[in-house]
């Protein structure tokens, strides 16, 4: 493991840890009356996946039953499948080592570790996740203990942190890299938006990964196979 990359990841991950802590606080508040204090704390400690945690608890709270809650969580987590597939070619070593890198994936760290052209910096990814884990657990504890005293994080505008971050990364690096990348990003956004009113939560993002199939004809791999020059790598500064 490259320590300099891990340290750089930790520095880049700290702002997201603050946001994650606030979100976890609100999770503690809403989950405690539904599944109890102990299960709320154990869930945040061992699951560490915000959307799935919120989604499944919301289903239980609405009387949806255990199978529906689990299915909702799986759908909300399913984006980690294509994200893990994208990460995989950058990983080396035995299966358990690669699995450990996969477990370290969260949306923000995965996005920041993306170096363009299908390459990721796995050690940077681990570093960028590290600050968010204690923030997630401590935030949940605070939410369970003192949730009623703290207002809605949305009033502070914190619910916009993650979409704003993804847009900034896209406009700052990915979209400028070449035309096919921009087309795929726009197509992915269009698929997700079109499915949003109809599909269960989580499905629009997974379906949008189908836009990457354009790479069968136009992607860097296809270009290489035809003997043309590979596109230049984009080395964006992930934290500006």
């Amino acid at each position: 493991m490259r320590r300099d990359a891990v340290r750089a990841g930790v520095r880049a991950g700290i702002p997201f840890a603050v946001a994650a802590g606030v979100v976890a606080l609100s999770f503690g508040v809403v989950a405690k009356p539904v599944i109890g204090t102990a299960a709320t704390l154990v869930m945040s400690t061992f699951v560490f996946a915000g959307a799935a945690q919120f989604g499944s608890v919301a289903v239980l709270a609405a009387g949806g039953g255990l199978p529906t809650a689990v299915i909702a969580a799986v759908l909300l987590n399913a984006r980690f499948l294509p994200m893990g597939i994208a990460l995989a070619p950058s990983l080396r070593g035995r299966w358990f080592r690669r699995a450990a890198y996969g477990e370290a994936m969260i949306d923000a760290s995965w996005a920041m570790a993306n170096r363009g052209g299908g390459r990721f910096d796995p050690d940077f990814l681990v570093g960028a996740t590290l600050p968010s884990y204690p923030a997630w657990v401590i935030g949940t504890v605070l939410g369970v203990i003192a949730g009623d005293l703290i207002g809605d994080p949305a009033d502070l505008g914190l619910d916009v942190v993650f979409p704003a971050f993804f847009v900034a990364l896209l406009l700052g690096g990915e979209l400028g890299s070449d035309r096919i990348t921009a087309i795929v990003a726009l197509l992915g956004a269009a698929i997700a938006l079109a499915l949003l009113p109809f599909a269960p939560a989580g499905v629009p993002v997974i379906a949008a990964s189908g836009a990457a199939l354009l790479g069968l004809r136009h992607g860097p791999g296809a270009a290489d196979a035809e003997g043309t020059e590979p596109r230049p790598e984009i080395e964006g500064d992930p934290v500006g």
């Binding site: 599944i35 505008g157 938006l193 196979a225």
Partner: protein, 104 residues
């Protein structure tokens, strides 16, 4: 409370399996060029898609054009003007919180 612990157990197992699946199944090997082309484009497709539900998702199934959309648009303008990612996020938060405070 049995249902709560069953949910926790299911989430622990399914989350771990889903996150490890790609790296375990596909890592450590050279993939065909066509697969590499698709994998290289997964990141932009997923990044763009992640923006949508978190920007336009409402409480139910409707698409909402609200304060979050304003904040995300502000972030886009900052980056287009060559501002940094952190500045873009700060502007997005300020715009979203400000609009909510003003519109009540």
């Amino acid at each position: 409370m049995g249902e709560s612990w069953a949910l926790v157990a299911w989430l622990v197992v399914t989350t771990a399996v889903i996150k490890a699946a790609g790296p375990v199944a596909l890592g450590n090997r050279d993939l065909p060029a066509r697969a590499t082309g698709v994998i290289a484009l997964l990141a932009p497709a997923l990044l763009a898609a992640l923006v949508m539900p978190e920007t336009f998702g409402g409480n139910g199934s409707e698409i909402t054009l609200g304060e979050r959309a304003l904040g995300v648009a502000g972030a886009g303008v900052v980056v287009a003007l060559r501002g940094g990612v952190l500045l873009a996020m700060a502007v997005a938060v300020a715009l979203t919180a400000g609009a909510r405070a003003l519109l009540g």
